[in-house]
């Protein structure tokens, strides 16, 4: 039905997608797998008319097609759910879902009741309980994601491209999405799907295309693969143990948090981080994990409670305070709180620690260039040149740039908020090794992660948050996924994350 023929895409002299041919069939879920920067998103964006190919072409229903814009593709019947969410925050949920396809009455006026009904139907299809009249900006990330999916479903498209649709979803919402995908399949819709979650691929996909470094490695029926075979295809080598062995932490307390409270996000949160220790904050979406670490970094200061750092009371009113004290953070919100999109990789890396590269107020460009070169090499950041605008890099390389920024200032406590979200296994393994190196070097690491294997294998201790309170503090070596989940789940069995 839809076919890519020798598609090629270049960015700033770098070929990110070498000539690639894949075909997509009705009623089939076709997973695109590969590490970050392997070219999955690029391929999807060319198919959806967002990028013009630099070579080859798209064939749609047997005819050679050249989509000039996403709108052309939409009209033809190809919809895309983007990895980076693109909601319009000040419109309602219903307005966002029907955007560009508003049901109109006479004189071209929008038929509000119909618009609302339509949104309601689509959300019901995803089993989501979101009021269509709410403003988009009041939604959580997970809810926003659900709305974006509903929007694509509403196009009655024949092909739906889903770029990591579950990155921010809870298990409950993922299950609902999978049921919706099954219904779409039955209707003969072709689904193109990317994810970094192995279990999803094998639950969903009929065929799998593996991309590596912008080249198609092959297209195989899912039944012929298993996770370890798939991983070796993706990384081009057998997967070594991704989790490095843990070190033994010291008993010197680095950070001590007592009674931290900011209603209604979290209350009476207390825990410690020792030097050389990795402490994970676990919990469901909306449990208050990001909010707690944001308070420690001064992004959203807590209402009350005490923080002691290196044995002394510390008050953090802003990230400047936190950085000055020796606390660094890598945010979960790369686009909103991380990147300076138009600036180069170099300037993004040195932003926080720029003072150390200055003589007086003047930037020492030579020292900066040396440091940037070293960091790009150390973190294996793939970029055509140091000054390439960071917006042009893949998610994994952007994340590595932000890690480099955080560590350049040599903080003693490093807060990592979902450091591996939307990142391929290769980059994940690099980040795991980095966390271990930091712990061995006597730093404290505070890790927020929704991936339990990660939490259990990296952390020494796990602080489980449930609805803003500490539900348990567990020793990681004596815990398993079930224990953590039992503490993380609200008491009622089918409760939803709090709005």
């Amino acid at each position: 039905m839809l076919r890519a023929l020798d598609l090629r895409k270049d960015f700033g002299g770098l070929t990110v997608l070498h000539p690639t041919s894949v075909d997509f069939r009705p009623g089939e879920v076709h997973a695109l797998m590969g590490e970050n920067g392997a070219g999955k998103s690029t391929l999807m964006k060319v198919l959806a008319g967002l990028y013009r190919p630099d070579g080859g072409h798209v064939e749609w229903r047997g005819a050679r097609t050249d989509f000039a814009s996403p709108h052309d593709a939409l009209v033809a019947g190809i919809a895309m759910i983007h990895q980076e969410l693109m909601p319009i925050p000040d419109l309602t949920v219903a307005e966002n879902i029907t955007l560009g396809a508003e049901p109109c009455g006479r004189f071209g006026l929008i038929d509000r009741p119909a618009q609302r009904r339509r949104a309601q139907e689509l959300l019901q299809e995803l089993e989501a309980e979101i009021d269509p009249s709410r403003l988009m900006r009041t939604l959580t990330v997970a809810q926003t994601q659900v709305v974006e999916i509903a929007k694509a479903l509403g196009r009655r498209a024949d092909v739906i491209l889903m770029d990591e649709p579950t990155a921010a979803l809870s298990d409950h919402e993922v299950a609902a999405l999978f049921r919706a995908i099954a219904r779409l399949k039955a209707r003969g819709v072709a689904i193109v799907y990317t994810t970094h979650k192995m279990d999803e691929v094998f639950r969903l996909a009929d065929r799998i295309s593996v991309l590596r470094d912008g080249r198609l490695v092959g297209t195989v029926p899912a039944s012929e693969l298993d996770p370890s075979k798939l991983i070796s295809l993706m990384v081009g080598r057998e997967m070594a143990d991704v989790f490095p062995p843990r070190n033994t932490p010291t008993d010197e307390i680095l950070l001590e948090v007592a009674g931290l409270t900011r209603e209604p996000a979290y209350r009476d949160v207390s825990f410690q981080v020792c030097r050389g220790e990795v402490v994970a904050l676990a919990g469901l979406m909306g449990a208050g994990r990001t909010e707690v670490v944001s308070a420690l970094y001064g992004l959203h200061p807590a209402g009350s409670g005490a923080i002691r750092f290196k044995g002394k009371p510390l008050s953090v009113g802003s990230p400047q305070d936190a950085l000055a004290a020796g606390i660094g953070m890598v945010t979960e919100d790369r686009k909103g709180l991380g990147l300076i999109p138009a600036s180069g990789v170099d300037q993004n890396i040195t932003l926080t620690a720029l003072r150390s590269l200055c003589r007086g107020q003047l930037i020492d460009h030579r020292a900066e260039g040396t440091v940037v070169g070293a960091k790009i090499e150390e973190f294996a950041i793939k970029t055509s040149r140091a000054s390439q605008p960071i917006a042009q890099l893949s998610g994994g390389n952007q994340q590595k740039t932000l890690l480099a920024r955080c560590l350049l200032g040599d903080p003693e406590l490093i807060i990592l908020d979902e450091p591996t979200r939307g990142i391929d296994i290769g980059a994940k393994a690099e980040i795991y090794a980095l966390v271990q190196r930091l712990a061995r070097a006597g730093k404290g690491v505070l890790l927020v992660s929704s991936e339990l294997p990660e939490v259990l294998s990296l952390a020494h201790r796990i602080v489980v948050l449930r609805r803003g309170s500490v539900a348990a503090t567990l020793d990681a070596s004596e815990s398993d996924q079930e224990t953590v989940l039992r503490h993380a789940m609200p008491l009622s069995r089918h409760a939803h994350p709090r709005p």
């Binding site: 950085l323 945010t331 300076i340 000054s387």
Partner: protein
Amino acid sequence: MPTLDRNLLHRFGLLFVILLVGLGLTFTTDTFLSVANLTNVARQVSINGILAVGVTFVLLTAGVDLSLGSVVALSGVACATFAHPGDHPVVVPIAVGLLTGAACGLVNGILVTRGGVAPFIVTLGMMTVARGLALIVSGGRPVANMSDELTALAGDFYGLPIPVLCFTGVALLAWFFLRHFRLGRHIYAVGGNEHAARASGVPVERVKLFAYGLCGLLTGLAGVVLAARITTGQPNAGQAYELDAIAAVVIGGTSLAGGVGTVTGTLLGVLLIGVINNGLDLQGVSSYYQAVIKGVIIVGAVWLDRRQARS
């Protein structure tokens, strides 16, 4: 520098257009390519140039300053009021002019950062307030009778027009500042993504305050230079100067969304507008038509640039 390649292309593109316009004028008029006329062009662009460099800083932070013209008038009037012969040494009226501008800029900056009011609104308000203050201070009449020491500022220094020297100096300092100072880098970061800049420990409020304050100071300088040139403090001077300045900056490749732009670009934008103005004058085009042509050229130049950026 961010997007170096694009900027180079851009700069050469703009330089090419300026040379093309200049070449055309050389052949169609007898007077364009003469020392006297080119000096005149330089003199004429100086004030717009100083303003454009100042407002580049504000635009880079994703802000805007619409009060430039009114503040030019207020600074000029304030300067002239202290510039009567025999009253004060010449540094006093100059300092008064500069400080008046800087004060207006700082007020803008405080309202934007502390008050959280949108820059468009804050500076729109300042535009009216400063104009009103200029009329109040001067009683609605031009403040004349300025000392020769001050009006000498419009003259020459070893054969070079002082306004041109001011503009060149300001542009050089600004270029150096944005490229080599930490604060300069912070200005790009704040304009590129304010939230990310704050999360990276950049003192966002101070950076913005500095940008508005500096823009105000340079506006004050433009006011003093203008007063010296027209030998009076004119409360009605500087009408719509902000538009020419912002147009020059945008033609020079600075993004109104902030975070992207260079002083070199601004310089070329100023020159292009100056050469076009001069050319239209030399061709004897009526000022009514001049306004229309200039508007079309401004939008056209930016349109071409964005098209180039997309491809």
